[in-house]
Subunit: 344 residues, 2 copies
Amino acid sequence: MIIDVHGHFTTAPPKLNAWRARQVALMEDHRPSPPVDELDITDDEIRASLEPAQLRLQRERGTDVALFSPTAGGMGHHIGVAETSRVWSEVVNDLIFRVCTLFPENFVGVCQLPQTPGVSPANCVDELERCVNELGFVGCNLNPDPTGGFWRDPPITDPYWYPIYEKLVELDVPAMLHVSGSANRNFHLTGSHYINADTAVFMQLILSDLFKTFPGLRLVIPHGGGAVPYHWGRYRGLAQDLGRPTLEEGLLHNVFFDTCVYGQSGMELLTRVVPLENVIFASEMIGAVRTIDPESGAYFDDTKRYLDAIPELSVADRQLIFEDNALRVYPRLGAALERQRGSH
Amino acid sequence: MIIDVHGHFTTAPPKLNAWRARQVALMEDHRPSPPVDELDITDDEIRASLEPAQLRLQRERGTDVALFSPTAGGMGHHIGVAETSRVWSEVVNDLIFRVCTLFPENFVGVCQLPQTPGVSPANCVDELERCVNELGFVGCNLNPDPTGGFWRDPPITDPYWYPIYEKLVELDVPAMLHVSGSANRNFHLTGSHYINADTAVFMQLILSDLFKTFPGLRLVIPHGGGAVPYHWGRYRGLAQDLGRPTLEEGLLHNVFFDTCVYGQSGMELLTRVVPLENVIFASEMIGAVRTIDPESGAYFDDTKRYLDAIPELSVADRQLIFEDNALRVYPRLGAALERQRGSH
């Protein structure tokens, strides 16, 4: 089985963004969110948004199932107040639940959290519980910079964040550390804000004893770990110079990298420097780069293709990357797949 | 000849930082900088700070000359006002000049600029001219985030920055885009602020026609280009999706990456994906990582060693990386070397 742990509903019916636009306009007017039942997306509209897109590409690329979450760039935690974020998160998580109900063999849910700058992540606990316990989701996206590119909240290793970690450990679900929109004109969304966040959180973790406090916490760093694998020697060296544990001892029981790296050389680097127990297949399809590479004739984000072309990876290595690591890091995934596929 | 284009005077005599500490304390009291002649560093103190450090390592590693600038983390553009930055930049640039005068075979000067958040880079033109025309420096470090990790000034592609680009082109010297200290606790200095800045500026350049306006402008991105070479496919794909020129057409006549990558796999990636005309030897020695890698038994930042161990690099390739690219990108370097070595 080939599990893609990083997919977003970037192709959601336009009604979704229209509802969000109304919500933001009302919020700017200090008025409450529009009624949720104004969002009358039909099952057929959901099917039509996925069939020629993620579902077609799953078939073409030979991947089986995607962990599916609301569009990361659309989480927009920096917009509005806590109530804005709460309502919006419920709306998009419910939509993901409908996707997983309509296509139980193809998608398993991962939720957005109702984060807000300066508001304790304790505020996210209820929605996380609802998504895991009631909707059957297997993980969440946790935004390390709810301020949208200005990085004014505390680092993810600060006790500020502990309430959400306690709940993650209790529910035994991991978080993917994934930022949302950039309101800072210095940072392009997918070209630098995403990648820089991945790099920043890894360095925060090097400096911290977070996993001594939360040995059961598991964090997935997307986009191939940002700059980290390329600068693996820098991070190994910094850990040593700063008197921190080695990366293996200090971080790699708890930190995992996805394979959203859109080139052969990058993928080879990732699988060469990072222990394969820490590499989890993902494509972010349909996401940051949507076109075909004229040099290879294949989609840039067809990350399976790059992995298939690495001869050093044994059958056992591929089993780890494509399936076993995902099932281990997302312990609720096995049961979710059985349940969803059994119900079909 | 082996030219290292990225070295900082990180081992400067402690009197330098003591003077700076006095300057900052006075500034916080709204008082002017201490007299520059209070900084009584002797030639012997300069020699003693370099001999067991950069000079020894140059000999041990077999590199010939380093482009040498004030400590990047110490530029501290976010501290104080324009006058603070002007005086401090003159102090440290003058110290670099003394280094180059004492060791004309080993060091060629690169200057710090007196940047200040919200103050036009036009304010840096005089110091750049002084360093190039009077002190014989061959380049400068330009900080793309004078706000110290908060990224509140405009992107480097904004006309805000044009006055300094005009002067760089007129003087025919390149800028290395190098941030300084991080006042943002989310960003570790050398572990994420540096690397993230490198990534951010590359993406800013993809989105802009800056080099149509300044075809003669040359920018060096340090630390192996941040995350860029690892995610080369992402950047190629983003350029295509956004309707921008290819990286080769749009950027690579003007943008160069140094080789400050502290591992064999990373260096192989860099030299495989980036055209070798755009790769310039550097080590950042003595800088971010100062110890020996227990796995290899060699210094993490002995970047020449990684290059030496890449068999695919021909003699001509190595000539480009170690010498020719530096002489081409820093056109005043050849004459500076002749002049300095002739004077010896």
